[in-house]
Amino acid sequence: MAKQGYGFVVLIGVILAVLTVIEYYMALWHFGAALLLLVAALKAILVIYFFMHVSRLWKTEEEH
């Protein structure tokens, strides 16, 4: 994965915030547990992939 710039990190943050608000309103409108956990899983995937660099586990070229 190419190194992420500040703007990209903020963009992911905005997407996470929007998903959180969607989650909140979904609960107000009595969506089921499965859908709420689906949104949570989507947020978790974004954090795990873009913030936790899970893909670095099977890459060798990068240092840190």
Partner: protein, 210 residues
């Protein structure tokens, strides 16, 4: 001839050191992720407990507080990633600002849970749940307590890394300490991403009079 041989040996030694670091880095990353998997069983067990005991109900928690502390923790994850980006770019000043901001957000999150959910400072806010009161209080305190313990250790980790960076321990190319601290913090955030709907959003709120 001797000079050429010495040069070749120096280059070989450099490559060997580089390879050693790369191998160690891969092992470090793998070890950290194995630790996360083991932790997932702990938090997964707590989530399973919530769904087993509460079913399609939930404790009547303050929705505003839930949304605010969740947003603060998400913000802390963003600032932590920005701190890591700053280190990757060699901007130590910006790194310090963002990592301290992350610790600040972590403390705000902790304050929100301790004051408003646990009601530990009744003068500020009187909580209505107790760990021993009923299944709602027990689950809320078990889940938020275990998570808060990880937030506290994450904040300690942040201050250690910040102090080491201040002393010049990391470089843009080599900063495993920063990376591991950041990944740990994001993991704490991922756990809350699942705890938030489980505690605040899923099921019908049950009014508890104590």
């Amino acid at each position: 001839m001797a000079a050429i041989t010495t040069g070749v040996h120096a280059v070989a030694a450099h490559h060997e050191a580089h390879d050693d670091y790369a191998v160690q880095l891969r092992r470090n990353r793998l070890g950290l992720w194995l630790f996360f998997i083991s932790e997932a069983f702990l938090f997964g067990g707590l989530l399973a407990t919530r769904f087993y005991l509460w079913g399609n109900t939930r404790a009547e928690l303050d929705q505003t507080i839930g949304l605010v502390v969740t947003s603060v923790l998400l913000l802390s994850s963003v600032s932590m990633r920005l701190a890591e980006t700053a280190m990757e770019k060699g901007n130590r000043q910006l790194f310090s600002i963002f990592i301290l901001l992350t610790a600040f957000f972590g403390l705000v999150f902790l304050g929100g849970v301790v004051i408003f959910e646990w009601g530990l400072i009744p003068a500020l806010y009187k909580g209505h749940l107790t760990p021993w009161g009923d299944k709602y209080g027990a689950v809320v305190f078990a889940m938020t307590g275990m998570h808060a313990l990880h937030v506290v250790s994450g904040i300690v980790f942040i201050f250690i890394v910040w102090n080491l960076a201040r002393k010049g321990h990391f470089s843009p190319a080599r900063h495993w300490g920063v990376e591991s601290c950041a990944i740990y913090w994001h993991y704490v955030d991922v756990v809350w991403i699942f705890f938030y709907p489980a505690l605040y959003l899923i099921g019908n709120a049950v009014h508890l009079a104590h």
